[in-house]
């Protein structure tokens, strides 16, 4: 028993409530589909593989104020001490810390500066031959630095000659895949690529090149230095508690601070993204709830307005199921038009966001998914009131209301 035509005609003759509701549905669809996509994008961003065992790594800063020490020598002593701890897998001084939001970057090129050639923005760490093991990254091609390739010096004119780079960087500089053993330029300094790491992220996850990273075997210790330590699984907290005492025992005229896990650094860096994601989740939850309440309220209003009409329909032979069906079809028609408008609005909003906020194009699957969700939600919202309408007694038709 299809009543689509008379329901449509009835809606056309009494359309204000329906139009308001379909606008609400359209707005909800447009915003929810885009917000859901942004949330999914952020979730993928937050859960991406960084290449590091974040929960086993921590860093700390060392600020040496004592003048009676050779810092380079002291750092070697500290590294030796740290590496000798039974809970520690490896430790190294690192000029920058990944995922922290702070570090150094430069253009790495196929030609020495100032010649122009293919150059790629790259983060770089000055680190010794323990860097690979300390960061726990996976060397997939070539080899690690040898001890004699690590340049420990206070003379800034001396330059290292080799580098280990991330796979992404190598692929970008050498798309044919023949980069291992080739020379790339860090400014004017030629560096031979001796090893390739499968994945390691730079300090900036939101950078345009977040996984372009180069290790350079160069140690030029200064009064302010950063250490990275990788411990055995579940041993990190214990070492973090002890590291200050151990370092001060080695040499006391310095301050050890900023002892933080790599996961904590990452969390600090992505805090704004998490906040935005939570706000979007709250926003779409509220929107969906308000829309559901709107449908629920309008249906209840329609029922109270049409009590006599419903009683009359029942008197004329409508089964309870026919009354429920009537309201479901009526809602589906309003919702259908709202969803068509909402899908168009979602596409337009997606394009606007893409233009102004560098967000990827909204995939149609998100619009379709949101439309289905809103449609199901609207049917659920209308079902309760429709059931209540179906229970209106047909005897209401003979009463004066």
């Amino acid at each position: 028993m299809l009543e689509i035509k008379p329901i449509f005609h009835a809606l056309c003759r009494s359309k204000v409530g329906a139009i308001l509701l379909l606008i609400q549905i359209a707005i909800t669809t447009a915003i929810v589909s885009n917000a859901a996509f942004i949330i999914q994008d952020r979730v993928a961003f937050l859960n991406q593989d960084t290449g590091y065992p974040e929960h086993d790594i921590f860093k700390f800063n060392v600020m040496t104020f004592g003048q009676d020490v050779d810092i380079n020598q002291q750092i070697e002593l500290d590294e030796t001490m740290l590496r000798s701890l039974p809970e520690v897998i490896d430790a190294a001084m690192s000029s920058s810390i990944p995922l922290s939001g702070g570090g150094s970057a430069s253009d790495f090129s196929l030609k020495p500066a100032p010649q122009e050639g293919l150059s790629v923005r790259t983060a770089y760490f000055f680190i010794d031959d323990h860097g690979i093991n300390t960061y726990g990254v996976n060397l997939v091609m070539g080899r690690n630095f040898s001890e004699d390739e690590v340049l420990v010096t206070n003379n800034v004119d001396k330059r290292p000659s080799v580098t280990i780079v991330s796979q992404t960087l190598l692929n970008e500089l050498f798309p044919k895949g023949n980069g291992l053993g080739q020379t790339i330029y860090f400014g004017e300094t030629p560096l031979k690529v001796i090893g390739v790491v499968e994945k390691m992220m730079s300090p900036w996850l939101k950078d345009s090149r977040p996984d372009n990273l180069a290790f350079i075997p160069y140690i030029n210790a200064k009064s302010l230095a950063q250490f990275v330590v990788r411990t055995k699984p579940d041993q990190r907290d214990a070492v973090m508690k002890e590291v200050e005492n151990l370092m001060l025992k080695n040499y006391s005229k310095r301050v050890i601070n900023n002892i933080k896990g790599l996961d904590e650094l990452k969390n600090q860096y992505v805090a704004a993204d998490k906040l935005m994601m939570r706000m979007l989740i709250v926003l779409i939850t509220i929107l969906v709830l308000v829309t559901a309440l709107g449908i629920f309220g309008l249906t209840l209003f329609n029922i109270s307005k049409r009590t006599k009409q419903i009683g009359t329909r029942r008197a004329l032979g409508a089964r309870k199921s026919a009354i429920i069906y009537y309201f479901l079809v009526e809602n589906a028609m309003i919702c259908g038009v709202g969803l068509i408008l909402g899908c168009i609005a979602a596409l337009l909003l997606g394009q606007l966001l893409m233009q102004h906020f560098s967000i990827a194009a909204l995939p149609p699957s998100y619009i379709a998914g949101t439309a289905i969700m809103v449609f199901v939600m609207s049917l659920l919202a209308v079902f309760g009131p429709a059931k209540r309408a179906a229970n209106i007694s047909p005897s209401i038709a003979t009463r004066t209301i």
Partner: protein
């Protein structure tokens, strides 16, 4: 055709029990035109609601066309209403968002009648009530008398065994009321069985058979024409 044996209807609240109908007995034969009168609150509308299966009764037996109404479930009662009974309400009860054609179509759709057959019946009924040219009008574009004629057309379209009319002229002026009454008489002459609840003694007198409901019981049972004859004889 319609048999009510000892029908009672009890409305019960926490504080009060009210007998709207008690031991109500009535037999109606095919083709009759019965006027039901009685003071306000006497149980006329309750009788009509039970006769039209719009509400259940508390005890007794009600047979409609041989069907024991008391044993029907909600869906069966709805189907039975749709197929056997045509309603004419005091307030017309037309659906304001639907035009005349669509209003008359409502019970036919519930019966699952095909569109072409619906069209034929609707046009025929609109013709019968003299509103064929106004099929696309909305109810509010018509006078009260015209609206009641549409309601009659809606009741007739299902070709019911019974017409139940609840104060069909209650909201109409005397001229319109007379027109509607003439239409009902015509329908009765064409073979329909009509039970009409009315306050109006004038209208009731036009029905061949009158029954009076007082305090939920059948108080007086008169074949009006017979009574009229007796009265005439007595007067002579």
């Amino acid at each position: 055709m319609l048999k009510m044996n000892n029908i009672s209807k009890l409305y019960q609240t926490e504080m009060v029990q009210t007998h709207a109908l008690r031991d109500f007995n009535l037999h109606v034969d095919e083709g009759e035109f019965i006027a039901v009168t009685g003071p306000s609150g006497s149980g006329k509308t309750t009788f009509l609601n039970i006769a039209g299966m719009l509400e259940p009764f508390s005890s007794g037996e009600y047979l409609l066309d041989g069907i024991d109404v008391g044993k029907l479930n909600d869906n069966q009662r709805a189907d039975c209403r749709n197929q056997k009974i045509g309603f004419i309400f005091q307030g017309f009860n037309l659906i304001p968002d639907l035009n005349l054609y669509e209003n008359i179509e409502v019970p036919l759709r519930y019966r699952g009648i095909k569109a072409s057959e619906r069209k034929r019946r609707i046009e025929q009924c609109l013709e019968q009530v003299g509103l064929a040219s106004r099929a696309k009008h909305l109810p509010q574009q018509l006078s009260g008398g015209q609206q009641q004629r549409v309601a009659i057309a809606r009741a007739l379209a299902g070709e019911p065994r019974f017409l139940l009319a609840d104060e069909p002229t209650g909201n109409l002026d005397s001229l319109m009321a007379r027109q509607v009454m003439e239409l009902l008489e015509q329908i009765n002459r064409d073979g329909a069985t009509i039970i009409m609840v009315t306050h109006d003694p004038e209208l009731a007198r036009r029905a061949p058979r009158n029954i009076q409901v007082v305090d939920g019981q059948l108080a007086d049972f008169t074949l009006y024409q017979g009574a009229q004859n007796l009265k005439n004889v007595a007067g002579a």
